[in-house]
Symmetry: C2
């Protein structure tokens, strides 16, 4: 793990690292926010929120635009922002679309060539990166997860597939039912192939009926979001939760769009939600 | 004034506009944050903070990265972010440097060709843009001013040269004595010519002795700022204030650098300072 930069922020540290990812087969960069409480000598590592970003993003968008450091510093919560896809692989077509390939890893494990050897963002964000950070003592084993858009899909799927791994989960404007929207269909067909049944294990709406842990899903969705009708389908997820009696708090926020201004407006409430679950 | 976009943020509106600037002779874009209090029908326009950004920035950096909307919404304060230079003029050499020409207007009125016909950012931010916004009823006549780096220089100069115009002034890591640092010397020689005496009216440290209004200068400066020693010279300004008995609160912040993480860490305190002066 190579430390690229450390910047003081709200008396905590925003750090960027580079490391070699075994599951992705490439060098990856990520960002960590460490609250002031853990900078004291001998302090224990902090409970941590993993934030998964959306299409075209990298590890920096959330750190720079969400305004999350202030409340995280108050709570004593670490935040980890992974990148959104493998980088620098030069696979054919990798950089041709904003919604497939680089910047659009979709937090799944690809089966289809040429992606199968590298595009394992699910294993990376659920297992490899937390394992590395916990072994280094940078963050604790008490984990929460959240994300935006493609990253909201990722957060919901990671939580639903891993009972006991996360204390809490939330999402902003998540792609709730990717099997049934253009972004998700393109990604799933490309990474997973044409067998639609194989898509179900990466679709929050289809995972809810079999979820064995009743972790409440906190979701904020702007009603002025241009992607709401075609891509996001929160009502499909709501309906699946109601049928399965799975706890969900879906808040439709009048006037808000898909931008980081929307995320910033409600991030403190999400941090408080995770802080409470993490015992902060 | 053409409205380019409106985005809800903390129940207020972040708006971007384009207009034809008479003093600059080009189209300009700027951003306004309107707090929720002024969105009600018949509400009076809000007191306003003018924020001047630094080298290479435009109207968006502060709005996206400073985390200022939350506290501005609570206070009922509008924020206006102008761009940092004229745009789209295609003057020879305009885009050759990060610290001169486009993105580096230095908030002065240029005398030297080819800049003299357009580079009047001082008149633009002090007179033309506020006049437009006040005439439109978008913001009130109660004004405060702040900025970062080159924009911190701009804020100090605008306040010192215009007694009675601003209720308060503050700056983050301002270029305090531009006549005596590489950034300032390059800009002043290019825009104003070789007569060093003509530079004094655009240099906060040199304006303080003759200031007829004793508006306190609130300045935050990070001690880990890479530009501190060579470019910023806060001690020269402090010394000038002490000699002239001009009120200044210069806070040297241990560990902070020149980035927006530094600004975000202390922006609430600056907004509270301006809010108090504006009667909010």
């Amino acid at each position: 793990m190579e430390l690229l930069a450390t910047t003081l922020s709200f008396a905590g540290e925003h750090r960027r690292y580079r490391h070699r990812s075994a599951v992705l087969g490439c060098d990856m960069e990520f960002a960590v926010y460490l609250p002031p409480q853990v900078l004291a000598p001998g302090a224990a590592p902090a409970p941590v929120l993993y934030w998964l970003s959306g299409l075209t993003c990298n590890d920096q968008n959330f750190m720079q635009k969400a305004g999350a450091h202030r409340r995280a510093a108050e709570l004593g919560m670490a935040i980890v922002c992974p990148d959104t896809s493998p980088r620098g692989l030069d696979l054919p077509g990798e950089d041709d679309s904003y919604d497939f390939g680089s910047g659009a890893g979709f937090y799944l494990n690809a089966h289809r060539e040429p992606w199968a050897a590298h595009y394992h963002m699910y294993d990376y964000v659920v297992t490899e990166l937390p394992g590395l950070l916990e072994a280094e003592g940078l963050v604790s084993h008490r984990r929460a997860i959240s994300g935006h858009s493609m990253g909201g899909h990722g957060a919901l799927v990671c939580a639903l597939k891993n009972p006991g791994r996360y204390a809490s989960v939330s999402a902003f404007a998540p792609i709730c039912h990717p099997s049934a929207c253009p972004w998700g269909e393109k990604a799933f067909r490309g990474y997973l192939g044409d067998d639609v049944e194989a898509w179900a294990e990466w679709d929050a709406t289809l995972l809810v009926p079999a979820a064995i842990e009743r972790l409440p899903l906190l979701i904020d969705q702007g009603l002025a979001d241009n992607f709401l009708e075609e891509q996001l389908h929160p009502k499909a997820l709501l309906s699946a939760c109601q049928k399965a009696d799975h706890p969900i708090e879906l808040r439709m926020q009048s006037g808000y769009d898909h931008s980081y201004f929307f995320i910033a407006s409600f991030i403190d409430e999400h941090l408080d939600h995770h802080g409470e679950a993490l015992g902060l």
